[in-house]
Symmetry: C2
Subunit: 644 residues, 2 copies
């Protein structure tokens, strides 16, 4: 039970200063010469001075005739003057050099042709009119760009115009990524028909880290996977350093587990500056200096790996290249629910964002560091200071944006009950010319109505059975959206039933079977339409829920219930046919129910909502939903009721 | 004198709609499959659904022991319970699969070791505690990304975790760039020792356009230079189309000059939608549809070429890739002087920007479409609507940013007299850890003081001789900065004198020679320190300026004067030794003068200014300035006077 502790856990701020100060002034990158066209996006390592002037000759700035200005004096409306082409005047086009002795150009529009070789002018020319003089744009020897200038496309034009062939830029930083862990398997080696063997984890972090290195302008070098063996790891780090990289990332083995050797190895090879950072996710980060090269022990959980990279690797790579660290845009947002957070740890909370009724609302995603989808689905991140114990519900906080700011205006915030047809809506909506983004959070039908009431969403998915009237949704909307005008649109009718393992080994046929001792049930959370349906059926049959094994085991989505059944964590769960089909489960139909879109009437005319309804009523939606099984989308997209 | 006119000149808005509407729904890009790691930055052409769940097995979420939860019930502080390792409990590390039959993990911190194979627990485990269940992150069959999603680094993690090997993304658009013009020469073919032959222009636009294509995510294909011959151009366009590109840019020949054949060629090959756009720069733009492929006749002036690309090629390339056009950030700025603009034409005015005294100030750069440096030096662009006749001085307008917004806070706005040592300051300041940007505009010494008074700059370069006291700057600062506290810092003492062609062919030795009929002078603008110096010397010698040939020929910088002398546009000009040396001119010394930095005292404590002064006082500055010749930087960076 011996465990190493985090030897010198640091706050994020301390860790960053220690780290960046150590390497900030290490000019590890060399200057290299590249041909001008290849300098795009690179950063100058030295100032660039013009070799030639531009233009290099006096050039016509207009189409017309080149003349000596002093030969035109006196010309006027009443005293037109004739010039002989080839002697006193010369045809030139824009960009052409002025003939020797000329110092002005008269525009073709101001000429009056007399005969083939004679033109008439009715105004005199002043010296250098319509002429681009030598050096007008660039003068030889002048500073074109200081050092540390990132070369943009139009900068290439100035470089070429100034006669520059090659530019001295910083070399591109090379970063070794060393994946470690006995459980890791190279995803490329797993055939498409196979599922990974039990206990093997595809190495997804390496691709993420390499991608992040690329996003920072570096070149990643992915090294072979190293097992949980300190000697093997040591030699992998050494060989990466010998390969002349500028930074090494060891992923993972950075925490304090019994097979986490990264600390031990880096401590032996060099100096560990930080072991453990008070950030969440991302705590098990190791920052070390090995032979003057920065080496990072990156955490293994995917979100931790990405956030630790963001805080420690990204700034260093940027600074190395002579660039300035740029920060994500921040905007004020209203958070939908309270988030308690640990004092002394800075938390990076991933949130869904969207503009609802004039303000940007944030719905927190799950906080698990192991859930990469909490990053991929997030539109923003809220940083909760280590000095704070969390944020209150409905409070205003600042969010860092993970998407373009204008994306928020194109985001449709959907919340409520989970249904697979919503994924289809999301995809079709994105393919629509306006490219709307459907941001969805699954909080159950009642949760969706409450989110609408608090103005945290544009639309809610809802299938709440009124057990007294047998009607869906209406009475709930009246109760929970009191004072609101709301519009109810059909989305789908769908089959609910028991999901069981293939072949129905426990022979479940109805709610009565849930009482059997050999049947483990998995439930949906309170407030979900499916839970209300179950409780209604149990009451009808006079069954005491407390007698059902697994009634307390709650999941938040149909798919999570299906997964429990599929993986043997439960024998039966209530859910939709499509979820059962998606995971290859058998299905015992119970009821056909109505799943609606509830939308506050004030939003209905918004273009986002109109697009949503158009997509919901479209043939492609109906076809794709029908193909999933158990869906009846005949009335999808149609308004069936307005509630005042 | 026959000229084609712009057949159907359109407003920018009309032209864009016509163009984008024509091609918006042409799905010219095909979907291609790429391995997941190569999908970075690409846009999905189809929705991506998870193939596998993640995790694919129930995994330990902590280091500790895996147990069956129902075997731990009843354990408590007063009723500890012993578990036999290998039978009732199994060591697991984070990420490891749970052994068959286990459904919970107890953290190692909560264990009490009894003997080697026995542990004691003092609390019971609940089902699924510290376990990452199958599908917790991703459930097989769920939508990972809709179509038209741009893949970021962490998205790769979700794809790999979900068992995806390849993604369907849009292919990368290929863009042919066809340079045309008899005067063009491939810059790569010009040796470094040569200057381009008289009348030849290095083709810099192709590199800029190719770079812009790359910045938009496309692949540029640069084609051989085509002469001013319609048949040659026609076959070049045809062969580009035959090569299967998605867009063709012909640069240039798009205006209405006698050798501008692009319109004629595109009209013959396909349909010209627009010829001439009411934008400046950028008017001679041709937009055509040839065999269903967009073909752009791009203007020849470098700024026009870039801005026309920005308005017509960029949005199309972005939309083709299923992405949304993103716009540059806009901020409110205060403009330093009035800019009249032509009604009916939308002008893109390039401006220098910086934050001075809490607001962002804009100083317009030259408006010439031929000056690429007006783009490379600009921090922003002000669009003057075609409905407006311009902007008033000191008015608030909106600017599009060409640099990162935070760059403005690191920009030091320098204005006033031009000196080559300011380039050295700019370079050294940028190399400084904070990476400040020195944004300089040359308006002469008096112009600099006026800019300070109007709070349009942080610092002014000033060398104004008080002809009564013989002292530099002080009386001017007292007069023009009345009511301001200002600090005067030494920058350099420098040699002023006559710049003449090498060998001094006209034998100029003093101001008296300026009266000679065979000597053409080039002057500096009124308000510049050099002009004041000249006028003072002329008065001393009793010379009437009106008798000097070229007294009215004004330039704004030392280098421009030197260029005039170098190119033979003038025989003599007054300027600094360094400018003469830079262009290989001879120099007749006249006077040693003092060039100061004038800084409003309220800014002196700002970090930007402190860095500037530190750099000015540093050895590298002094060494580089001395090497340029004619400079005496002994006191550089030192405060010599504070004026109340």
């Amino acid at each position: 039970m011996k465990r190493r502790i985090y030897l010198n856990m640091k706050s994020l701020g301390e860790a960053r200063s220690l780290w960046l100060e150590r390497f900030r002034n290490h000019p590890v990158l060399e200057a290299v010469s590249v041909p001008v066209p290849d300098a795009l996006g690179r950063v100058t390592a030295e100032p660039v001075f013009a070799r030639l002037s531009s233009p290099t000759f006096h050039a016509a700035a207009m189409d017309g005739i080149a003349v000596r200005s002093d030969g035109t004096y006196g010309a006027g409306d009443r005293s037109p003057r004739r010039l002989i082409i080839g002697e006193e005047a010369f045809w030139v086009n824009t960009g052409h050099p002025l003939p020797e002795g000329c110092d002005a150009v008269i525009m073709v529009e101001h000429l009056h042709e007399v005969e083939a070789d004679v033109v008439e002018i009715r105004a005199s020319a002043y010296p250098w009119q319509n002429v681009r003089k030598v050096g007008e744009d660039i003068v030889a020897s002048e500073l074109l760009f200081p050092r540390r200038h990132r070369v943009r496309a139009f900068d290439l034009g100035a470089l070429i115009a100034a006669g520059i062939h090659e530019v001295r830029v910083f070399e591109i930083p090379r970063v070794a990524v060393i994946p470690t862990g006995d459980e890791l398997v190279d995803p490329a080696t797993v055939g498409l028909d196979e599922t990974p063997s039990h206990g093997w984890t595809p190495d997804s972090n390496s691709a993420v880290l390499c991608g992040m290195v690329r996003e920072c302008g570096g070149t990643p070098l992915i090294r072979p996977i190293v097992g949980d063996d300190p000697e093997e790891l040591k030699s992998a780090v050494r060989s990466a350093l010998d390969a002349g990289v500028h930074l090494v990332i060891v992923n993972a083995g950075s925490s304090a587990g019994s097979e986490d050797y990264t600390y031990q190895v880096l401590d032996a090879l060099g100096e560990v500056l930080v072991h453990g950072v008070a950030m969440m996710p991302g705590k098990p980060t190791i920052l070390a200096d090995v032979r003057g090269i920065p080496v990072v022990g990156n955490p293994g959980y995917p979100v931790s790996a990405a956030l630790s990279f963001d805080q420690f690797v990204r700034p260093l790579l940027i600074v190395m290249q002579g660039r300035r660290e740029s920060f994500r845009p921040r905007i004020p947002v209203r958070i939908s629910r309270a988030i308690p957070s640990k004092l002394g740890v800075e938390e990076f909370l991933r949130v869904r964002l969207g503009r609802v009724g004039g303000r940007v609302v944030a719905t927190p995603l799950s906080r698990g560091a192991g859930l990469i989808t909490t990053l991929t689905r997030a539109e923003g991140m809220i940083r909760i200071s280590e000095l704070s114990q969390g944020v209150d519900a409905e409070s205003d906080v600042e969010a860092e944006l993970l998407v373009d700011p204008e994306e928020l205006d194109r985001t449709l915030v959907f919340i409520g009950s989970h249904d697979l047809s919503v994924d289809v809506l999301a995809d079709l909506l994105r393919g629509y010319p306006r490219g709307y983004r459907l941001s969805s959070a699954n909080v159950g039908s009642l949760g969706g109505l409450l989110a609408l009431r608090n103005r945290f969403a544009h639309a809610a998915g809802c299938h709440l059975l009124d057990t007294e009237t047998g009607q869906y949704n209406l009475s709930y909307v009246r109760k929970y959206l009191k004072g609101f005008k709301a519009s109810l649109f059909h989305l789908v009718d769908r089959e609910q039933g028991f999901m069981v393992a293939r072949g129905n080994p426990k022979g479940v046929c109805g709610v009565g079977d849930l009482l059997r001792e050999d049947v483990r049930f998995v439930n949906r959370q309170a407030g979900s339409g499916t839970r209300i349906l179950l409780d209604y059926r149990l009451a009808q049959e006079g069954i005491d829920p407390r007698k059902i094994c697994g009634y307390d085991h709650e999941e938040y989505t149909h798919m999570a219930v299906a997964v429990d059944v599929r993986s043997g964590a439960a024998d039966v769960g209530l859910g939709i046919l499509a979820a059962a089909m998606a995971l290859g489960l058998d299905f015992v139909p119970l009821v056909r129910e109505q799943y609606d879109l509830v939308i506050p009437t004030e939003y209905v005319e918004e273009e986002r909502i109109q697009s949503l309804l158009m997509v919901a009523g479209s043939d492609p939606f109906r076809e794709r939903v029908r193909a999933m099984g158990g869906y009846h989308p005949e009335k999808s997209g149609r308004l069936w009721l307005e509630v005042e």
